[in-house]
């Protein structure tokens, strides 16, 4: 936990410095007639963030914050496993949206999660896996008229095959 607190503070300090440098692409001083430059507000915020990080590191060194006193692991084996499964599967699902589109990657993801992580029975897994994209389609595409991404698969064949005929029927 101690090491994690230090690493986080250092990473955030680097980010703050990067933010200051990036803000300085626009004027950060006073521009006559139009007030403070466009970069001023984020520049000083970045400076403030950097100061906070320094303060956090000082408190860490003096062992004043609870994580800096803790001897517990930042993440034990089980926590790490749960985190990797949760965040990892989500990353893969979002990545697949670019290729397969929402309506293919979402059911795949739900089936994977319910069946292999939750060990639920097939009828429940299939039910949730099918119902969620159907409800999503009617809510977003038909109700809100917001097109969700169809991915490369949609562009090349699914649009003509499935989505356009569905639009023709419901819109």
């Amino acid at each position: 936990m101690r090491l994690a607190e230090l690493i986080m503070a250092v990473v955030m300090a680097c980010f703050s410095a990067y933010l200051m440098w990036k803000s300085a692409e626009l004027p950060v001083g006073w521009i006559k007639g139009s007030g403070p430059g466009g970069g001023a507000f984020p520049f000083w915020l970045g400076a403030g963030m950097l100061l906070c990080c320094a303060w956090i590191i000082v408190r860490w060194a003096r062992r004043l914050s609870p994580p800096s006193q803790s001897t517990e692991a930042y993440m034990d084996r089980r926590s790490l496993q749960l985190f990797l499964i949760g965040a990892g599967s989500l990353t893969v699902m979002i990545g697949l949206i670019h290729i397969l589109g929402v309506y293919v990657s979402v059911p795949l993801y739900l089936i994977f999660y319910l069946r292999w992580i939750g060990h639920h029975a097939w009828p429940l897994t299939g039910g949730v896996g099918l119902l969620t994209p159907v409800v999503t389609f009617f809510f977003f595409e038909i109700g809100l008229k917001i097109e969700l991404p169809k991915g490369l698969a949609g562009k090349h064949f699914l649009n003509e095959l499935i989505y356009y005929p569905l639009y023709d029927i419901f819109l």
Binding site: M12, G35, G38, P42, L90
Partner: protein, 502 residues
């Protein structure tokens, strides 16, 4: 006074239209379910479901979300009592006596007491809201950019002054939220600003929903799954009409605690950053100290359920007061509601009371309705909500993740935002494990554009001199209070260390 009454009647005409009434009921049910799920509360519900409200007009959308806010406050008590795990941080105090009552076999009594107290707290606070909002909005109409800016400084200062979190981490959270709000095009010169790695997705800025859903949807689920590794034990509750009526009769003895909780909760709720969690904890503390037998608290005293439940509902109404009248949210949930209002094209702040009377009064009237429906639905469907607690996270989590992904995509229709949301969720979760408070960042990203605009306008008004914030009486006073709130915890911490050394 009569004018307020007339406006309220007009508000009821809006709230009682069948579509809006339906939205109130839907909001209450959704809120009760979300509140009842361990770990999820009003802020998660509002963040995840806000994109879905684009289906209805703004008035309907805020009515739905307002009802959801209430429902979640009622629902939070359910998992506190049945599982001993607070449904949300706002229901922490309810576990102290609610859980022991459930273990004694009085779960149904605790649930009915919680629902009735929530109703009393909600109703008293809406009446107070109706009386206080118009005069406050009148005062706020006279505010110029300097006052607006110092008011926002005050909102951030309360996070530092009243929050119990690490001071530098709270300040960091506020500033990173503000910094994220500056991404996109500069409001004055129109030049692109902070376009990280030249990604085109940053040109439209970082939508507050991306951060809110990332933190309160994805980050929260990662957190809840980690926290609930252990097994949960659900208490049994036998509900019968006779026992419900019996409990309501018993509640006569705790009317004082209900009233105290309602007033205390309401006023604590008004303070930005304070919200329902400290309100309910304070109400519990006061109820215990006031009681003739304080030793019975923590062992299943019904008064220990009633006081915090009245307070957390009252506080949720209280936190809407500064949001609607000043444009400064009083809690993370109202911060997201405020962001929603901007998306719907309504400018939050006192002008709402002049330009959008039907919206404001429709919302207020619907809060009365939401309160009543939440009570009825809660008591009538207690067994259904208990069933929610049995729903495994392996079903809930993936469905919520999917909702987050499509909800995060909908406002800007850009996959860039979905990736950003995932990053915010993961980094937010990792930071939360190290005690970084995240609510200030969400508040800051919502207020950021307003804060920057009002600061720059003020500085232009005064040719660059910062003294304008001090010399104007109202902004000067607000600034002094803000500075006291900022400095006070630091002095307190230093004194504490000095005495510890001595």
């Amino acid at each position: 006074m009569i004018e307020v009454f007339n406006l309220l009647i007009e508000g009821f005409a809006v709230a009682l239209q069948w579509q809006n009434l339906l939205l109130v009921v839907a909001g209450c049910v959704a809120g009760l379910f979300i509140g009842a799920m361990p770990g999820l509360g009003s802020v998660n519900g509002v963040a995840i479901l806000l994109p879905l409200t684009f289906l209805v007009p703004p008035t309907g959308a805020i009515i739905f979300l307002g009802a959801l806010y209430y429902g979640a406050m009622y629902g939070g008590a359910i998992s506190s009592i049945m599982l001993g795990i607070p449904g949300a941080s706002t229901a922490v105090a309810t576990t102290f006596d609610g859980r022991p009552m459930a273990l004694k076999g009085d779960a149904d009594r605790a649930l009915v007491a919680a629902a009735s107290a929530s109703f009393v707290g909600g109703t008293i606070s809406v009446v107070l809201f109706t009386l206080f909002a118009p005069p406050l909005a009148d005062v706020a109409l006279k505010f110029g950019p300097p006052e607006e800016f110092t008011l926002m400084i005050l909102a951030f200062a309360t996070f530092v002054g009243l929050g119990s979190d690490d001071i530098p981490k709270t300040l960091f959270s506020i500033m990173i939220g503000l910094a994220m709000s500056t991404v996109g095009l500069d409001i004055v010169s129109g030049q692109p600003r902070l376009i990280f790695f030249d990604l085109p997705g940053f040109y439209h800025g970082i939508n507050f929903l991306v951060l809110a859903i990332g933190i309160y949807g994805i980050g929260e689920m990662l957190w809840v799954i980690e926290q609930s590794k252990g097994k949960m034990v659900i208490s049994k509750a036998e509900v019968s009409v006779r026992r419900i009526l019996d409990t309501i009769k018993q509640l006569k003895g705790s009317i004082r605690q209900m009233l105290m909780g309602s007033f205390l909760g309401y006023f604590v709720g008004i303070l930005p950053a304070a919200g329902a969690t400290p309100g309910s904890l304070m109400a519990y503390g006061v109820a215990k100290t006031m009681d003739r037998e304080p030793e019975t608290f923590g062992r299943g005293n019904i008064k220990g359920v009633v006081a915090p439940e009245a307070a957390n509902n009252a506080a949720s109404t209280g936190s809407m007061l500064p949001m609607l009248t000043l444009g400064i949210p009083g809690s993370p949930t109202t911060a997201i509601l405020l962001g929603g209002m901007v998306i719907w094209g309504l400018e939050p702040g006192p002008r709402l009371f002049v330009d959008h009377k039907d919206f404001v009064w429709g919302l207020i009237a619907s809060l009365y309705a939401a309160n009543l429906f939440a009570l009825l639905i809660n008591i009538a469907f207690i067994p259904a909500f208990i069933a929610v607690l049995r729903m495994p996270f392996t079903i809930l989590a993936p469905v919520i993740y999917v909702l987050c992904v499509v909800g995060g995509y909908a406002p800007t229709k850009d996959m860039h935002d979905v990736w950003l949301m995932l990053i915010f969720g993961v980094v937010g979760y990792l930071m939360r494990k190290l005690d970084y408070p995240l609510a200030p960042a969400v508040l800051a990203i919502v207020l950021g554009p307003l804060a920057e605009a009002s600061m720059r306008q003020s500085l232009i008004m005064n040719q660059g001199g910062f003294d304008i914030f001090v010399t104007r009486p109202i902004s000067g006073t607000i600034l002094v209070i803000a500075i006291v709130l900022l400095v006070w915890p630091m002095i307190k911490a230093m004194n504490k260390r000095r005495t510890a050394k001595a």
